[in-house]
Amino acid sequence: MNERSDIIETYLDELLAGLVGEAGAVRRMLTETEAHLYSDVEQAVARGVERDDAALAAVARFGPAERVAKLWTASAPPKPMPPLTVMLRRAATQLAPLAGVGLVAIGVSGLIARAMTSLWGLRFMFAGPPGTTYPASSCRYWMSLHPHAATCANAYLAESLADGLNARYAAGFLGVVVLAVIAVRRRVRHAPLISPPMPSTALSAVAIFGAATIALAALAADAIRVSHGNGAGKWLSAAVVALIVCVSYAFAYLQSTRRRITTA
């Protein structure tokens, strides 16, 4: 007689949720509890008791799941700490997608910086405060790289544009590579290519990108206030992307929380 009982299965779920300990020991406690409760039900059914009534009585005699789980957990040997390598691997698995997204975000900020340069000019993106002077040796170097520039300041701006944007594009490319490697690993393991982030990861991302948004926006505001907008664009372009990523992860966190509430 192996008919399942919803009452007992629910009880086992509640017990499992409360058991804390080494996986094998938890599984053993659950298996023994299951055998005990179904044996009790089968005995009662054989005496003519209704199956659901028998299940309710068996569960009641076994004791509240929370109390049994607490008692078992208190007497169980402590759960062994996973080895350092396992913890590092878990951390890397959690953080790698975050790093990939962060690097891609930097690349996207390069595209936005490029667009801002077209709209508001090089000064908005990279110029220093008004009255900034440049060493002669640097000027010679920049002029050699940008011979069409009319002045040292223009050569500096052209060089800043090239350096600043190329560095961001390179970061973006690296991010794409990281995400591609993650995707290939998932495909090899037959896991979904895109999976929602764990709530803890999403929350960490909100904190990291939220802090970055505030810091970058403050630097942009400072450049607008102190340097009449010169150089504000390089901060602003990054702040916009950080804000978008922050909001996206906040949305993912809310979604995951809603899913957990729905399945609870």
């Binding site: 055998a35 076994f62 008692l71």
Partner: protein, 110 residues
């Protein structure tokens, strides 16, 4: 017989479990039934509390256990170890002395 409170049972659960297993190896459900039958239902014990005690006694080396794969579901069958048998003997003696002492006090006229 009406079930008594769990409090007096707490300190003696190990002795009772070892005693039930002294006769023959048994799985958890049989141990609980044994306790219930022998006490004539006197112990209103939450049956789930027996398993943490059995696991603890096993870790202490007083019980050994193995899976019984026969039958419709797997069961863990417990048996006394030699150390468990010695412990049972010692606890039984201790309990008898205690019970005699308590009986003597209760039986004494003021």
């Amino acid at each position: 017989m009406l079930g008594m409170s769990n409090e007096p049972l707490k300190g003696h659960l190990d002795l009772l479990l070892l005693q039930v297993l002294d006769h023959a190896p048994a799985h958890g459900y049989q141990v609980v039934c044994g306790l219930r039958d022998r006490s004539d239902g006197a112990f209103a014990l939450a049956e789930g509390t027996v398993y943490p005690a059995l696991h603890r006694l096993e870790r202490q080396g007083l019980l050994a256990s193995e899976w019984d794969e026969q039958g419709p579901r797997r069961r863990r069958v417990y048996r006394l170890t030699p150390q468990g048998r010695r412990s049972l003997q010692a606890r039984r003696t201790e309990w008898t002395q205690f019970a005699v002492g308590v009986g003597a006090v209760l039986g004494a006229t003021p």
